[in-house]
């Protein structure tokens, strides 16, 4: 009667450890959950990348779903996702607003000329003030904001069409044309 307990206790402890590891391995430590989800989108009013006299802010996109994409020319992942952003822009379901983060205006404008511009407008945030309000810690990051002005989804790391269709499109209001 002693023997089974002697084996059972370590076996149980091992099983608990394995359970922890299985769950732990499936979680991506690169994905820090955003406390912003479900909260109103933080406001900002920043110079437009293309025209310093023009201000860009979340208020411009009230009453509709829109994407905020944080990018910079120094960001490798941003280049990776650029084709996907262009494709999403072509679908024409949501406007994509750029937040150009800690970047150089001339370089950023050249990037858009050379690679194509998926954005309806780009806010220029060279000092990263708006980025801090949005809890940005690494570009690229993409937020989905709904028609009530709440952040409903955040993608950390490069956007792909697969992620877009699987995780973002279902959050869009029904009734809009499927691609």
């Amino acid at each position: 009667m002693k023997l089974p307990l002697r084996f059972l206790v370590p076996a149980l402890a091992f099983a608990v450890l394995v359970a922890f590891f299985v769950v732990g391995l499936k979680r991506d430590p690169g994905q820090i959950p955003s406390p912003l989800i479900g909260k109103p989108a933080p406001d900002f009013s920043l110079e437009s990348l293309g025209d310093p006299a023009w201000k860009v802010g979340p208020g411009d996109f009230a009453d509709k779903h829109w994407l905020l994409n944080v990018w910079a020319t120094w960001c490798v992942g941003c280049r990776q996702e650029h084709e996907a952003l262009l494709a999403i822009a072509r679908e024409n379901r949501v406007p994509i607003v750029g937040l150009n983060w800690r970047d150089d205006r001339a370089l950023a404008l050249r990037w858009l000329t050379q690679l194509g511009n998926p954005y309806v407008s780009v806010a220029y945030d060279p000092e990263g003030h708006a980025a801090i309000d949005w809890g940005v810690y690494g570009a690229p990051e993409t937020f989905l904001i709904d028609a009530t002005g709440r952040v409903v989804k955040k993608q950390i790391g490069p956007m792909t069409l697969d992620i877009w269709r699987r995780e973002f499109v279902p959050l869009l209001p029904a009734g809009e044309a499927k691609p």
């Binding site: 430590p29 820090i32 959950p33 955003s34 406390p35 912003l36 800690r102 000092e127 990263g128 980025a131 801090i132 309000d133 949005w134 809890g135 810690y137 690494g138």
Partner: protein
């Protein structure tokens, strides 16, 4: 002589490492002390295991600037931590808050210690009991393992 040179080399390296955010930012000593303490409590989300006091990352520099601004406008430490967690979540605090979902985390070490003590007590008591009733069996114990 070589030892002394090595020591000097090590010490100079450590000075460089600590110089990420050197220099006085505040005229007021108390403000400066608060600033230095707060930035040591905030995690650099780019480098994860470093505080923003130790990190060279641009985001850490931005967050230090933000802390400086908040202190200048007279916010309390609690306000600053709240400002950061509203944006980045509890993960930005190097010391997680004590809340129902972190009870296990905080109690973990104590639970493991209690478990270890319990196991030791059980084993010792059993051996004492065996030693009283059947000392010969105790001699055989190691073989059974």
């Amino acid at each position: 002589m070589i030892r002394a040179a090595a020591l000097v080399a090590c010490l100079s390296i450590s000075t460089v490492a600590a110089a990420v955010d050197s220099g006085q930012r505040f005229e007021d000593e108390a403000d400066q002390a608060r600033y230095e303490r707060v930035i040591r409590d905030l995690r650099c989300l780019v480098c994860r295991s470093e505080s923003i006091a130790d990190s060279n990352a641009p985001l850490a520099a931005d967050l230090r600037r933000e802390v400086e601004t908040l202190i200048r406008v007279g916010r309390s430490d609690a306000d600053i931590y709240a400002f950061m967690t509203e944006r980045y979540g509890d993960f930005i605090l190097l010391k997680p808050p004590v809340a129902p979902r972190t009870w296990l985390l905080w109690a973990g070490p104590a639970l493991f210690l209690a478990g270890g003590v319990a196991i030791v007590l059980i084993v010792v008591r059993r051996r004492v009991r065996i030693a009283r009733t059947d000392p010969a069996a105790l001699e055989e114990e190691p073989d059974r393992l």
